[in-house]
Amino acid sequence: MINFITRRLLLGVLTVWMISVLSFAIIQLPPGDFVDAYVANLAASGSSVSADEAAALRKLYGLGQPIYIQYGKWITRIITGDLGESMEWRRPVTEVIGDRIWMTLLLSFAALILTWGLALPIGIYSAVRQYSFGDYLFTLIGFIGIAVPNFLLALIILYTAFKVFGLSVGGLFSAEYALAPWSWDKVKDLAWHLPLPAIILALSGTAQLIRIMRANLLDELRRPYVVTARAKGLSEWRTILKYPVRAALNPFASNMAYLFPLLISGSVIISIVLGLPTVGPLLVKALIAQDMFLAGSIVLLLGVLTVIGTFISDLVLMWVDPRLRHQMD
């Protein structure tokens, strides 16, 4: 088991490294550099920067050096816990990301829990009552969940909320709490704002998971051990919940790792539409402004989170699957 965990950890580190190289490369791909974007931005708002100043800025940010040196500098600093400074926000990246990464996690997590909470019972129902009216209904709802692009859903909900209820649902906090330090009221305020984006975000993942759960369970329901359990005189629901559902949870758990990047990706788009203070809009802006330290840090951070997610899901998998646990010994 220790061996298995170490192996997974090492692979995780490798993945993180590859992600870091990729993130850095992607940031470097667009033509021009931050100073170009910065100068252009100033020019667009009516200020001007001379060529000498631009050169001074480049020197300041070390932009003139070869890319591998820039990468080397960046990654060394990151390893020592220093994510660098956001050129656009003119603050340390850790501060800029700050609360937002937690909000991203919170939103993704809420969506994840919602996804599971919905997909599990519905998937079980659909499999056990295959081809029933309920099965078709849930499948249909689920498919609509996949088929309606979530940004469209977000926008329609945003507008409807405004049109019908006269409130702007943008953001995760009411105006009076956005600035306030954390308090019980602020948490309540957050709890009030969170469900809507979480539902929008969860919808497509839920539909997918329902399908996975349904297929897995259909598969497991045919296995002899289900007959064994029935032959023992267990009630039908107890049989299903204890045996095939447990087995079907296995691929379900391994899917968790890939649900996470999906949710985080989805949260980017939704956050832009709904104006949520997550890293999503920050990342898009940073990429557009070529604020490389910020963009790189966010991509890397999200990658690391996913790897951690994968790792946790491996542990969960080990916990659900005794075979895995024992093979590793």
Binding site: R222, R223, P224, Y225, V227, T228, A229, R230, A231, K232, G233, L234, S235, E236, K242, Y243, R246, A247, V320, D321, P322, R323, H326
Partner: protein, 336 residues
Amino acid sequence: MAETPILSVRNLHTEFAAPEGTVHAVDGVSFDVFKGRTLGVVGESGCGKSVTARSILGIVERPGRVTGGEILLQPADGGTPVDLLKMSPWDMRAVRGPEIALVFQEPMASFSQYYTIGNQIMEGIRLHMGLSAKAARARAIDLLDMVGVPQPARRVDEYPFQLSGGLRQRVMIAMALSCDPRVLIADEPTTALDVTTQAQILDLLRELQQKRGLAIILITHDMGVIAEMAHDVAVMYLGRAVETGAVKDIFAAPQHPYTRALLRSIPTVMAKPRTRLPTIEGSIPQPFNRPVGCAYHPRCTEAVFAACRTEPPPEVGVAGRNVRCYLHGGLPGARA
């Protein structure tokens, strides 16, 4: 044989509504099972043996459905037999385990890999016998000990995949016996095992039968196993029992051409070396496309009557045995 059977299956019909057509998996099977005796149900795969077993337990899966017949169980107190098919699902659950238990062909697949064997044995015990967790565990260990699992106290916490095939089947038997059933249905209990283990498991079953007076329905495709274990035999072909009777009679004088063909396919020590083992000509027809007339006629070397091709032969009793073959009577228009 004046004794009343514990379990009596009468004209059982089980159908599967497959997209290709309705499959009559069990098509009018009748047999009796007696206390302390073993009924061997034999036939090629797909002949409806396993479905019969599941029909008895009321666990035929959709789209399957028992459509007719009676399954009469003699209550333990000796009262009038009850028809399991008329029982409510709720009452039926109390039959599974304490009255009739099932042992499967593939011990690996028949266990869930996610729970310890103890957990899976104790489940039935706690459900039906109302024992505490501790008492159930003690009983599980006893049961494991009884079926010859070494170090039962340790094994009880292991997972099925940690056991060898033979041990798994022993555990399976222990689980089946956990609630002291009167009837044990063993569905190909030894097929997946090697020859030595097979013998051990069969010994175990015999031993348990003697100790407890179990009635066993032994489902197998192996005439050798039947010869070794069974007291009575039902030979099944395409959902029908084509010949039933005491094992010695059937082996001594098989009446149905199919039974004869089955018996010919058992290798014997007396066979001449380098001769080909006889096999049954042809293959089993598609289940949803049962031949008209006697189901066996396309493969039968003795199908001499026109009726063989037009009308299924009725069950006729010949010398204390029942057989479905015109060779032994029942020809339309003829006098039996």
